[in-house]
């Protein structure tokens, strides 16, 4: 199950979606509980949750009429994998530059 890295980053590019993740980092929540503090419709949350599920950040589980949402690690791992894969190229590049220039890291 290979995640689309485009969609993974796009998912994180939305503040409402990151807010959902922050809420869920405190513990599982229902859809309507997520909607309350975020100032958007339940429908909107539902749509965001679909994106977050498809990108491996959230897993949901409907019990009765309530959908319970919790964090999942796949999306997060995809980000970390991208980071580690690119860190080397980055550092090699910046390394090379470091020999030619003064090393000014901010």
């Amino acid at each position: 199950m290979n995640l689309d890295i485009d969609r993974v980053f796009q998912a994180l590019g939305d503040p409402t979606r990151r807010a959902i993740l922050d809420c869920l980092s405190l513990g599982p929540q229902s859809v309507s509980r997520l909607a309350e503090p975020l100032g958007v419709t339940i429908t909107a949350i539902g749509q965001h949750l679909q994106v977050l599920e498809e990108t491996g950040f959230v897993r949901t589980d409907k019990v009765g009429r309530v959908r319970s949402c919790r964090l999942e690690s796949a999306g997060f791992k995809a980000v970390e994998q991208w980071a580690t894969e690119h860190r080397t190229a980055w550092e090699r590049r910046l390394d090379t530059l470091g020999r030619l220039l003064v090393e000014d890291t901010d």
Copy 2:
């Protein structure tokens, strides 16, 4: 110099922009050299480069009529920082779930 994390992730959410970063990981390039393999206009590349500069992924330097582009680390570091900041919350959550049933935790 705090980067907007929204824009950082949005920047990475575009395949053309990630392709630009991949090209630059092989070494500095001019705008037109970047445009060649990517099948878009020089203008489009210019617009992407503006985004990548604002999000700390690229630094450019115009010499004569040629703009030379190379990788920068700030954007990359912002991603890694976000990852490390959230890894703990993620792991704690997934940990806790291991011991509990899914239940209302309020």
